[in-house]
Symmetry: C2
Subunit: 144 residues, 2 copies
C-alpha cells in the first residue's frame, strides 16, 4: 500500500519521535495522566499486523518488546497494556502503555470513561526517553 | 511463575477452547455483539509478553497472526483489534477482535461505552471455528 493522502500517520510523525529506523518509529505520546505512554508506528501505510511479512512482524514486536522492557525497568508499572487498534487511523501502530493503580482508568482499559485525574509525572520518567533510545540503539545498531 | 490459586485463567479455560497446544489455547469469546471475537491465552501464569523468552513470544504472535488471518479471510472485518491488557486478570492473553462499522462501539475501542447493539451473527461465522482449527493444525502439526 502507498502513503495515504489523508492518513495522519502518513502525513505526520504522530508525536515526539524517540527513535526510528527505516521501518518504524517510536513516539512519546502526550496523553494527560499517562506519562511514559509510547507508540510504535510502522512507517509504511499498512492497516494490519498480518499485512506485514514474518520478518517485519518480528521486527515490529521486537521493538514493542524493547519499549515494554524499558518501561517496566524504569517506571515499575502495575501492568503493561499493548494494543493495535486503528479503527479511526487504520495505519499500523502499537500502543505501549504503562498502567498504575492510580492512573486515570485503572483497572479499566484507557478507552473506558476516566475515573480520576492521575499524576502528571512518575518517578523514573526523567530518564525514560534516553533509556529507550539507548536500548534500541544497542539492539539495532545497524539503524544508526 | 507458578499457577495462581485465584487466577481465573489458571483455574478455567476462559471460554470454549477452539485449539490448544502445550503452550497456549485459542478461545471463542462469548461477548454480545462480537461474533468472531477470540482470545489467545498463554497456559502458564505469566503477566507480560516480555516475561516470555523470544521463542515463546514468536509462537504466541504466530498464533495471534493465524487467528487474525482466518478472521480477515472469513468475516472480512473493517479492522482487526489486537490487545494484551490484563489489568484485572494479569495472566497473559491476547484479544483478537474483528471490528465492523455496525458493531456496538465502532470506531471506538470495545472498552468505550456501547453505542449500539450490533448483530448477533455475521456471514462466515458458521465455518469460523473449523477454519481456525484447520489453519492452526496445518501451521503447527506437532501440536496434534
Amino acid at each position: 500500500m502507498t502513503a495515504g493522502k489523508h492518513c495522519e500517520l502518513c502525513l505526520n510523525p504522530g508525536g515526539h519521535v524517540l527513535w526510528n529506523d527505516a521501518k518504524l518509529r517510536v513516539i512519546a505520546v502526550d496523553e494527560p495522566g499517562y506519562p511514559g505512554f509510547c507508540r510504535v508506528v510502522w512507517n509504511n501505510h499498512v492497516a494490519e499486523m498480518s499485512d506485514l511479512d514474518a520478518a517485519d512482524q518480528a521486527h515490529c514486536m521486537a521493538v514493542v518488546n524493547a519499549v515494554e522492557l524499558v518501561l517496566r525497568e524504569t517506571l515499575h508499572p502495575a501492568k503493561i497494556n499493548l494494543a493495535s487498534l486503528g479503527n479511526m487511523v487504520a495505519h499500523l501502530h502499537w500502543h505501549v502503555i504503562p498502567r498504575f493503580h492510580d492512573d486515570p482508568h485503572f483497572p479499566q482499559p484507557i478507552w473506558a470513561p476516566r475515573e480520576r485525574q492521575g499524576p502528571g509525572e512518575r518517578p523514573g520518567c526523567g530518564n525514560l526517553h534516553a533509556f529507550i533510545r539507548h536500548r534500541l540503539d544497542k539492539l539495532f545498531p545497524e539503524a544508526r
